[in-house]
Point group: C3
Chain length 308, copies 3
């Protein structure tokens, strides 16, 4: 099959074939970063703007390195410094970016759907680097890439996602991608953060950790954000950790080859104990490495569909 989209907005829209094409392309690009000269001229003379309206060093650096390794010209724009503060509309801001003959905009925004709106109105390509609680497609793709690389195939895998599912774009993008590729997904956490309604989209909902992770091939732990605590979603970080954190003794309840994943940054001692993060089942740093390959693949594919 051939890639035909100028944007990557979310995994909800993609077919299993499209997701597989990205994963296959990333496999090729992963080799580039292992070479002595970690560059290919694929995007030479193309321009990518990283437009982050919500701060994120980690994701921005991963995209920026991916862009440089594809030999693109790269400019960073952060919201706080941008004209948004001067009352300009978001659409006017990105139309201005496009008018600079930019090929791709990698964009993070706190409003769900902001990138969809922008992509419809621009001729240049848009890559979603996270939009509110909606989607974070490259994160889910790197998670799925890592599962496929380690376990051979995603089809039939039992994947447990544990944490604040309600507010998580990482969880949503993972769910869409995993279901399309034939995995079985369980979401787990306190009932306030994992409402029963998630069942309607085809995942199993669990409010008990042991039950959620039994027979899991993958346990993907989400970051618990301290600000949720003040909003009455759970009584305390300590209580969350006691009931849903992964400790060395929790590992005994898992199959020996179960993968421990986390999108980072880690709260050691909250979602997972330091020994687990650094243990033999953890693939957390490999996820970071694979993120670079996924972003190179996505940028390469969408750039090929931008009309100029």
């Amino acid at each position: 099959m051939q890639w035909t989209r100028k944007d990557l907005l979310g995994l909800y829209d993609l077919s299993a074939e499209e997701i597989t094409l990205i994963l296959d392309t990333a496999e090729e690009f992963k080799k580039v970063s292992q070479r002595r000269v970690k560059k290919v001229p694929a995007l030479r003379g193309k321009t990518v703007v990283n437009f982050f309206v919500e701060p994120s060093t980690r994701t921005r650096v991963s995209f920026e390195l991916a862009e440089q390794r594809l030999s693109a010209d790269v400019v960073n724009m952060q919201a706080q410094a941008s004209s948004l503060l001067k009352g300009e509309t978001l659409l006017d801001t990105v139309r201005n970016i496009e008018a600079l003959q930019v090929d791709l905009v990698v964009m993070r925004h706190s409003a769900p759907g902001a990138q969809n709106f922008i992509a419809r109105n621009l001729g240049c390509g848009v890559v979603n680097a996270g939009d509110g609680a909606h989607e974070h497609p490259t994160q889910a793709l790197l998670d799925i890439f890592t599962m496929r690389e380690k376990l051979g195939s995603v089809k039939g895998l039992q994947v447990a996602i544990v944490g604040d599912i309600l507010h998580s774009r990482v969880a949503r993008s993972n769910i869409w991608g995993l279901l399309k590729l034939g995995a079985q997904v369980t979401v787990a956490g306190p009932a306030t953060l994992v409402p029963r309604e998630f069942e309607s989209i085809g995942v199993r909902v669990c409010h008990n950790l042991d039950e959620a992770i039994r027979n899991a091939d993958v346990v993907n732990l989400l970051r618990i954000q301290h600000e949720r605590q003040t909003a009455d979603f759970f009584p305390s970080i300590g209580e969350y950790s006691k009931f849903f954190g992964i400790r060395p003794d929790t590992m005994k309840k898992l199959k020996p080859e179960t993968l421990i994943m986390h999108p980072g940054p880690i709260n050691r001692g909250v979602e997972l104990a330091g020994e687990v993060a650094d243990g033999k089942n953890s693939v957390i740093l490999e996820q970071v490495t694979n993120g670079l390959a996924i972003r190179m693949a996505v940028l390469y594919l969408v750039a090929g569909c931008v009309q100029k």
Copy 2:
């Protein structure tokens, strides 16, 4: 003619021939950004520092892209992070930049004339990216480039500049450039923002919008800055907009081919209605595109005159 200046500080100093040389050079560079590979090796191995003591994402990004498309090495320096906070003099800071064997400094500063002072004291080239209410030469050049491109010639054009002329470096640079090239300039706005004294430099002063724009070939609208309101320059944004904003019905009073220009960012509903900004007379986004070509031309020309 040949370019002989290592700096571009303002249009006040330039001859009509020099301005025309920049416009002609920009015409060539505009084609580069329309190619598949948007780069030329003109400044390869040269270093440009973007030194912005006053924040400006929009202008910085335009310069940064221009520099990358000329294949220069680019470093950004922002004031708030700089040694200026540690009590160093501005001249010492830029002398330090120069000591790093930098070829060009693109500089924005809130003090009028800061770049003139710096340019006299440095061997490297200085490009003014805006100095207080004094000059913003690349903005005026891109405005004039757009007029010439759309209307064939600047000589004899009727150009109305509407808004806060008193505090506007964009207006000043436009006035110098347009008068040198033989255009007729009208400045318009409330009397507090458009003092009668402007007549002494050879422009028509108008305090009535209809009168100002009658027969205009170009209407260049300046951004109204909310902070002026608190300083008693005009009673309210709403009142400003009522008397000096351009609405769809205002367009009927214009010649059908009159260009609507704006340096951005736009306050939709203040200086101009959204329908006008997006309408067929508006060349606002083309101005942005042309800004890139102008900045490539300016950087290329001054770099050729820096002794190393």
Copy 3:
């Protein structure tokens, strides 16, 4: 001899031969920045992350230019925007950087020894760009490079370092490097900032400026930081300047060829008068130029020892 370290953490650890190798390598790289095309492909396809947990425009820009002139891919990360704020450990943050297949991390941190800890735990190379009051090795190397370039040899030189020795990483790195190369070092300043204990490491301690600089071949002035004053280290900036500042009349007490050095940024009228900073004995801007060559040399040498 051959360079064998993947990190440069401080001058305390280096042998005289290693320091000399860096200086000799920098001599070669200094020529690159004097060429028309100021680039070599030495680090092409390598990635360098400038990770500054403590802000520093001056040092960051110097490193960034050095990296670009070696043709490396460069990404900047600043602490305030980083995941450190989200509760991630420093080691997890840098492990994430390393997982992006980065070759070198140039790091500044306010905690003495932070870079030593990080370097032990990472496979990629670490260059210390300043760690608290511990070391700032590239600054000392550029100081020593400048002395050697101007005076022929460091062996036997009389070097006076004047200022806040107690809190200065620049002083510490200079002391280690200069002693190894056979110079004689005097540290001078108020007793509160220059404790007698420094004698135990092999330097002369002086609380009187005239005595300190008599017969000096080099006087290296450190920046006086205003915040020290509030901590009762000295009564007032004016008093410090009166007793330890270098004025035109102080110059008469020096040998005619004595070098005046300063790591910048300068407080004109505090550590030294403007006339002295701009005078014929000052090599302050040459230090800046040499800093680029030193950083190119260090990055080149350590990159050659990173296993990938």
